[in-house]
């Protein structure tokens, strides 16, 4: 019990620590984002463009919306000490379910969204149960589920299917000034996820389980239930991403999630945001920073008209360097 209490106590002290300007990973992420924005603006400016004009902000936020949704869910799972490799196929599947249920009729918008989210929740439940009941490693369990989804998609679909009514396409394109409505919704969900992780019992349990499953279990946390909850929430977030993409594309696309590599990309964003891959440390705020860094990088490369393959190289290097920096800092902090 004392372990949990200790953790709770430390969490409630966290705001006090930021007030005294101790450098937290979240702060580092947003500092890096600021530096990136400045450097990017200068580089784009040299070429005669403007990075943060109307179109630039729109571009960064639109790119960040889908990845943000998936990465928020991935954060919950990774904090719990697990991992979800099935989100990419799930995004594609949910876009199809939503678009096919709607079939172009505005009356079916709500059932379409609900159907997609239910499918997502079921997939998340399967992920969670395979991990907790069958005791399969999370990596293998979600990889297996991903392969099953892939088989289903490849067997039944060859291309885009279903259609989304015009009324629903607004969710993909409406915006307030340069800020897309969908990006605001994504940030709202991020805030909700932050509140959930930091202010609710189940949220604390997620940190406890990610920190040490055995200690959590001995402290009376229902570890299995916590892991399943994290996976269901993660899958639902991926489902939302699929629904949003269906709205943007006007139809469901089976490979929309895998083409963008949302499985590994979302894990990269989470880790870039300072969340430990082993679990128990990190949070949603850092993840959103990580997502914004990745989408800003993309936008800068677009503005500089750089080769798209070069993006992957830089992304890989940024990822490794960022995690190396976090890893450097950790032993020092432990010793104090």
């Amino acid at each position: 019990m004392s372990a949990v209490r200790e953790q709770v106590r430390r969490r409630s002290e966290a705001p006090a620590r930021t007030r005294t300007f101790v450098i937290t990973p979240v702060l580092v992420v947003y500092l890096a984002l600021a530096v990136l924005l400045v450097v990017g603006s200068v580089l784009v400016g040299v070429q005669g463009g403007v990075l943060l004009d109307h179109g630039g902000i729109l571009n960064i936020l639109t790119r960040g919306t889908v990845l943000g949704l998936v990465a928020i869910g991935q954060t919950l799972v990774i904090v719990t000490g697990s991992l979800d490799l099935s989100v990419a196929y799930l995004v594609g599947l949910c876009s199809l379910v939503a678009a096919e249920t709607m079939a172009g009729s505005p009356a079916m918008i709500v059932p379409g969204v609900l159907a997609a989210l239910v499918v997502a929740a079921v997939v998340g439940l399967v992920n969670g149960l395979v991990i907790t009941v069958l005791k399969a490693n999370a990596f293998i369990a979600t990889l297996g589920v991903a392969l099953v989804l892939r088989g289903y998609l490849e067997h039944n679909y060859t291309g885009p299917a279903g259609s989304v009514p015009r009324a629903f396409q607004h969710i993909g394109y409406d915006r307030i000034g340069p800020v897309p409505v969908a990006a605001l919704l994504m940030l709202l969900l991020a805030a909700a996820a932050w509140w959930y992780l930091r202010r609710t019992r189940t949220g604390y349990h997620m940190y406890a389980v990610g920190g040490d499953v055995d200690v959590a279990r001995l402290s009376g946390v229902r570890t299995g239930r916590t892991i399943v909850t994290a996976h269901v929430l993660c899958a639902v977030m991926a489902g939302l991403a699929g629904v949003f993409l269906a709205g943007r594309l006007g139809s469901g696309a089976p490979y929309v999630g895998t083409d963008a590599g949302y499985d590994l990309e979302s894990i990269a964003a989470v880790v870039l945001g300072g969340t430990a891959l082993a679990g128990g440390r990190g949070g949603v705020a850092g993840t959103i920073g990580g997502v914004l860094i990745l989408s800003t990088l993309d936008t800068i490369f677009d503005d500089l008209e750089m080769d798209s393959f070069f993006k992957d190289v830089v992304r890989g290097v940024v990822l490794i360097v960022a995690v190396a920096l976090y890893a450097r800092r950790r032993p020092a902090r432990r010793s104090t």
């Binding site: 293998i140 990889l143 067997h155 891959l277 393959f309 890989g316 450097r328």
Partner: protein, 329 residues
Amino acid sequence: MRARPRLADGTGPVLVVLLILLVGLAFAGPAYAEPSGYLALLKRAAPLVVLAVGQYFVIVSGGFDLSVGSLVTAEVVVAARLVNGDDANTWWVIALLLGCGILVGLVNGLITTKLLVPSFIVTLGMLLVLDGAVFLWSGGAPRGALSPSFRVLGRGSADVPGLGQLPWSVIVLLVVLAAAVWFMRSGTGRTLLAVGDNENVVRLAGGRVDRLRLLAFVLSALLASVAAILLAGFAGVSAQVGEGLEFRAITAVVLGGVLLGGGRGSVVAAAAGALSLEALFSLLNLLGVSGALESAVQGVIIIAAVAYAARGAGLQRVLRLRRPVPDTA
């Protein structure tokens, strides 16, 4: 020395699975009525088995190597461009590919051990870098062609006295497997296994943990290069040749009963896992299951295999608890 050869722990189930699949193949397809059918299967499976052996070293020492698939793609594309259809270029390009493999493994291993980055992230980053770099260099589409002498390794056969025609890839496979078994029986191999089980104990006992980890990554990347050479010869040049191979190799290793997280499992079982996977795909093919469902079956099987291993271990623990064994902790 033991009086009789014993199977390493966890090898039994996968060998049974493999045997069932092979017998199934014999019933399902007329091609498998004679040895040449199985030889063709072995030839087809060779790249995956070689990859699985490499992945085994990394997994058993407690890591992941996600970069092997993109390394294979990168090397095939590079080989096609450098060889450019000229036989004179074959040998130095092969040497260069192996060298590149060692270099990639060194980078993976050094970042993991010196910068303390989890290997999952390091090799994920390496995957992105390799994918991007190769296409940046080749301009999006593979160019050039492989020379006939380069392709011999993947598709040609050699005359082996006493055995007749044996495909080169099968010979490479056997050599790699024999070397891997020898390595895992040596002191270094045993210590590598111990690193995956409990790193701190190895360190306190004076083992060079970092060096062993580094070695595992180098071996994995080197064997990925060998697989790339075999695949290039067998399947030809394409930009998708290595797609998904990293997950397939991990699946094979896990199917062989090797524990993710390290410390348990044998290299023969990992190779048998790869062979089982390939045999399974051939069987599904013969039974008329569409190629699209292949991955679904693969998914169900790895979950089942891991669940079986986990529940099996749980069962063993229960049995052990009943016996009055003094706690070693």
